[in-house]
């Protein structure tokens, strides 16, 4: 018996629970021919901003223990070129995998401009809102500023009927607060988590390895943090959650799913092996088959807590 991986979510059906994470799969086309994109759950594009952004000076990536650091600087082609040059390929080549457009901005207006600018186009399902961006107005990130986040989510809700997924930032004392703000302001789902701020120093040159000084840490190193924050977010509100962080096997993905995620994303692991997302998907399927579980959805949020736990 082939286990059922399909789930209905955000008004559509996902054929499988694994998506490629934003910033690690370009605009999809780069992986064409190399991996079976259309057999995955979907993908999230590189961030799109209203104007093109040139990004940070090199080095932009380097290895850290069990993971990596990156500071790309949200380099992207901008809204117009995305719509005219990138979206058509996705529209024409993906029939079953769903596409989310990752959206960034420096002001609420900038985010709203991307959403309203794209909303009439075809070839994607919805938006993943990256709130780990500095807010020009407040100085802090949208994702760590309760009022700014509420305003942003509410505004984007009014711009579109498509699913709006908010991708939360991990470096807050209580992610549940931010999860509830998203829910109360009309988001359709959450992605947990973005990268952790980190820094790598070249001790010989006495300089940061990364041109931007600091960057975001991703990869297996952050797996247990991602599982925890996914569990906290999923139990703090009733929105569906997409689990992200360090996933490189079916077992890793199932930790997120038991913690409450409906879908997962694979990021850094695709650099280690472009076949990672497919491997994760097969790993989930063969685990279910081996354990005699008919459908993945039986496991979502299926974590059993001990009575004595004092989390």
């Amino acid at each position: 018996m082939v286990p059922e991986l399909r789930q209905s979510l955000f008004g559509v059906e996902f054929q499988a629970p694994v998506l490629l994470a934003s910033g690690t799969c370009g605009y999809g086309r780069e992986y064409a021919g190399l991996i079976p994109l259309d057999e995955l759950g979907g993908l999230v594009t590189k961030a799109v901003s209203v104007e093109p952004r040139s990004g940070n000076p090199p080095h932009r990536v380097a290895e850290t223990p069990g993971g990596m650091i990156n500071a790309i600087g949200l380099e992207n082609v901008g809204l117009d070129a995305f719509a005219s040059e990138k979206l058509p390929w996705l529209r024409e080549n993906l029939a079953r995998a769903h596409v989310f457009v990752n959206v960034v901005g420096r002001t609420v207006e900038e985010y709203a401009a991307v959403v309203s600018g794209l909303d009439g186009e075809e070839g994607f399902l919805g938006y993943e809102i990256n709130v780990s961006c500095p807010n020009v107005k407040g100085g802090t990130m949208f994702g760590t500023d309760e009022a700014a986040l509420a305003e942003l989510v509410g505004r984007l809700r009014s711009e579109t009927e498509r699913p709006v997924i908010v991708k939360l930032t991990p470096n807050v004392p209580d992610i549940g607060i931010y999860a509830r703000i998203c829910e109360e302001n009309g988001a359709d789902g959450l992605s947990t988590i973005n990268t952790f701020p980190g820094m790598l120093i070249d001790i010989h040159l006495r300089k940061p390895v990364i041109g931007n000084v600091s960057g975001g840490i991703s990869g297996p190193a952050i797996l247990p943090m991602g599982v925890y924050l996914t569990w906290r977010a999923a139990t703090a509100c009733s929105l569906p959650v997409i689990g992200i962080g360090g996933i490189r096997s079916g077992e890793d993905a199932l930790q997120y799913i038991l913690a409450g995620a409906h879908l997962v994303q694979v990021g850094t692991a695709s650099f280690v092996d472009p076949a990672a997302a497919a491997t994760v998907q097969e790993g989930i399927s063969s685990y279910l088959a081996g354990a005699g579980i008919g459908s993945l959805s039986e496991l979502v949020g299926g974590l059993r807590l001990p009575e004595h736990g004092q989390h």
Binding site: G26, P57, V272
Partner: protein, 271 residues
């Protein structure tokens, strides 16, 4: 008469990802190993100057956790490819230690290759392991009728890759330079470059060497192709990690727009 070499690279074929076995490993200089890996898929398609990402796959966490870029230094009829691996940091040290029978994960061939202009003399300028792509290119080009000079520089004699093997692979002796004069000519390899008549100059090596050559190319007005190095995440254009600065100030991806660029396509900021 040399035949025209048409780069197929603008529309690059999808690279291949596969597990491959190390066939042999041989130390060829103080800190440098010659690896042969069984990869008929990549051997059959690699072009001059293209590279592979080589790593250990998803279960491996110690460096190299991310795969590392290495030039295809050789491709044999029987499906082997050759890599010239210098133990530089902790990741390349582990790769240099690979032994016959171990398995690696390969992704390739990747990147935009060197281009040869028909009718021109070919001068390859190699700094250190920048020699790697020219082992493959020089022999092929000579067989195709090109007149090839291979200038090869190292700091000291103990770093020089086995010159008999170079001659065997490339069909001619390299012109060796060492900075301390302990082998071959004394000085920087760039001093060996003479540009006369129609010539295709190709360079691979440390950025300061490339910068010096780019300066000469601009001043003396010859075409120069350089193979650049930058930290890479994916090798296939998805991560935007590997940028170098284009002449117009915009970032260019070393993995898909390079690693080979015309020197004139890039900004050469003073180091």
């Amino acid at each position: 008469m040399p035949v025209a070499i048409e780069p197929k690279a603008t529309e690059i074929l999808s690279p291949i990802r596969h597990r491959a076995e190390v066939i042999s490993s041989r130390r060829v200089a103080t800190d440098t190993w010659w690896l042969e890996i069984d990869s008929p898929e990549i051997a059959g398609r690699a072009e001059w100057g293209q590279f592979v990402m080589i790593g250990f796959g998803l279960e491996h966490l110690a460096p190299p956790f991310l795969p590392r870029p290495f030039s295809v230094a050789w491709r044999a009829e029987d499906g082997r490819i050759g890599l010239l691996v210098r133990a530089f940091g902790v990741g390349s040290r582990r790769l240099a230690e690979l032994r016959a029978g171990e398995h690696v994960l390969l992704l390739g061939p990747l990147g935009r290759p060197f281009r040869l202009e028909p009718g021109s003399r070919v001068v390859c300028v190699a700094g250190g392991v920048g020699l790697a792509p020219f082992l493959f290119l020089a022999g092929d080009a000579r067989r195709q009728g090109f007149d090839v000079d291979l200038l090869y520089g190292e700091l000291t004699a103990d770093k020089v890759f086995d010159t008999r093997l170079i001659e065997e692979l490339t069909g001619g002796p390299p012109i060796v330079w060492t900075e301390d004069g302990s082998l071959g000519r004394r000085g920087r390899v760039t001093e060996g470059l003479r540009v006369e008549g129609p010539v295709t100059v190709l360079a691979c090596g440390p950025t300061p060497m490339l910068r010096a050559l780019a300066g000469r190319a601009a001043r003396e007005g010859f075409d120069l192709q350089v193979s650049v190095e930058e930290h890479m995440g994916c090798g296939v254009g998805t991560c935007q990690g590997c940028v170098v600065q284009g002449a117009d100030g915009r970032w260019r991806k070393a993995c898909t727009e390079g690693p080979v660029f015309y020197a004139s396509e890039l900004t050469w900021s003073p180091s």
